[in-house]
Amino acid sequence: MSRPMPRASGYFRTDYRRDLGLVETRLEWTSLALFIVALLAFPFLASPFHLDLACQVFLAAIGSLSLMLLTGYAGQISLGHAGLLAAGAFTVGILFREVQAPFWLTLPAAALVGGLLGILFGLPSLRLRGLYLAVSTLALHFVVVYLGGEYETRRGFSTGITIDPPQIFGRALTSNRAWYFILLVFAAATLLICVNLLRSRTGRAWGAIRARETVAEALGIGVAGYKLLAFVISSAITAVAGALFAYYRGFVSVEAFSLFLSISYVAMTIIGGMGSLLGALLGAVFVTLFPYVIEAGLLALPGAQRYAGQLFAVNYSAFGLVMILFLVFEPLGLVGIWHRIQAYFLLWPFKHRPLSGSRK
């Protein structure tokens, strides 16, 4: 994520501390403050249904951010995201069932398992690129899901593993509002981690690898190490997302981690806008809320009652259609649309920016 250039309105950064700051102008501070106030006030104003939606969005955002790190910034395509979510969820499930582990053990354990799996998922990236890498992550996803299914069958949890809500200071965590704040904290932390990671040497190395791998290697960037690092960090975060998902739902089952889930996350990065953390967030919001919007829209139509029974199929079709529309017409996603709008206003009345001549 590149820092925007200094503003033309006379705002300049005059020391290093300012240069490192994330929020600069007064306008940015005010907007951020308002946004935080809105986020904090939301659970007290919204219905439980909406609270649940918000929690789902936060969960999706964590997974989406980690996928964006891997695919949008490090340039390593991964279709196996659901497998990593499953790994995190199953770690929680297995540890809970076998040894009754509390959440402050299972979450780090999930992160660890995620990291280790990340190494496994990342090994092909040392030899493969592009389509072949995507295919290898897909294959690994199937293997992970198969292992999860094996565990379920062997241990007799044919319908899935139920998990008790985590105990904090002796009280079970069941309130929607409490979950909202906890997930908000996790999502915000993930965002902060991502932002800072991208501003660091690691982020720059990833950018170089994504742009031209051979040249990055020639410049002395340890490409293999950074690729694996991308996979490890991304997978660890994803596994934690999966673990949180398990606790939130109270239930782990291998059917939830289908190929469609992987594709949903990839869709989040595309619809949001590849190569942008804001895109990851926007994509997460869009894809999570999409089925509910479709359902609401369907119920609002006059003759739609007979389709209500096939809501699942309608969701599928609509989702596929929207994804196609974005891929064909706006490959830069929602962020791309936003930039186009910005450019229109900034360049007006000119239509295009000439290459270089007119700047003299």
Binding site: R127, G130, Y132, F142, G149, L259, F260, I263, Y316, I324
Partner: protein
């Protein structure tokens, strides 16, 4: 003996499906991940035409094949054409999205129940006794023959004449191919329609053999490791890969664990990717000369 029969039948299934993957990949470097869904669509089309031409099975099959050819051309003209010359990965994701769309549409139009086109067509799927003690159902046998015939025809088409080379050239560098006079849209449309046709044939035969429901897509998905193991742009590779993957799967189910059936193709895939990513007979891509 029965094991060998099973391997041959499964290999034929994978080979016929892989033919479609190879055709599209060779010409555009796109892995058509909607192939499984297109296959399923072909089978459902047969179901409909079987209902329409209840007394005339040949007409039903012919019309269904014609329809699937049209579907292939439409998929290219309406959708993939817009991705011509764009990044390959975007095109692959477009096929994934197309697959999702088709899956939803199929359930909406035809419902998710299991059905069998053999019923309206009044076909019976008897089992034939083979010398050596194995048994094979009629439709499985037909499938093997159709696969062999298809491969013979496509081989001949690609070998004699320059279009085999031109397809590979278009796959490697579409811009240069266009600049050397190759009509990209025509060659892509051809590849997509042939690919959908062979996929639909596979779908129809599988449906006639063992019924049709929306899980057929999984077979389509399991076939692409076969294509990859052999080399995504090589027809010969698709045959070899299908045999290897089918053998591995049947033997694993028989000797180790029946649950492995869905995973084995992907394990073979991982093994091949680790050793020789471009497959047994594929063109070695990504020469690292800067």
């Amino acid at each position: 003996m029965q094991l060998i029969v099973n391997i041959v039948v499964l290999a034929a299934i994978y080979a016929l499906i892989s033919c479609g993957y190879v055709l599209v990949y060779r010409v555009s470097r796109v892995l058509n991940l909607a192939h499984g869904e297109l296959m399923m669509l072909g089978a459902y089309l047969l179901l409909s035409t079987a209902g329409l031409f209840a007394g005339n099975p040949m007409a039903a099959i012919a019309v269904a094949l014609l329809l699937s050819l049209t579907v292939g051309i439409l998929v290219y003209v309406l959708l993939m054409r817009k991705m011509t010359g764009e990044m390959v990965l975007a095109a692959v994701l477009t096929t994934v999205a197309l697959g999702i769309l088709l899956r939803g549409l199929v359930v909406l139009v035809w419902s998710a129940q299991q059905q069998n086109p053999a019923q309206p067509l009044a076909f019976t799927n008897a089992a034939i006794e083979l010398p050596g003690g194995g048994r094979i159902s009629i439709f499985a046998g037909i499938l093997v023959l159709v696969t062999a015939a298809t491969y013979a025809v496509v081989f001949a088409f690609l070998r004699f004449g320059r279009w085999g080379v031109r397809m590979r050239a278009a796959g490697q560098n579409p811009l240069l191919a266009a600049q050397r006079g190759v009509n990209l849209h025509a060659i892509y449309a051809l590849a997509w329609s042939l690919s959908t046709l062979t996929g639909s044939m596979a779908g129809m035969l599988i449906a006639l053999d063992s019924g049709l429901d929306s899980t057929m897509v999984i077979i389509g998905l399991k076939a692409f490791p076969a294509a990859l193991v052999g080399g995504l742009d090589s027809l010969l590779g698709a045959l070899a890969g299908s045999l290897i993957v089918a053998a591995a799967e049947v033997l694993a189910i028989h000797y180790i664990d029946p649950l492995l059936s869905d995973v084995v193709p992907f394990l073979v895939l991982i093994a091949m990717l680790a050793v020789r990513p471009w497959g047994l007979f594929g063109t070695r891509e990504e020469l690292d000369r800067v």
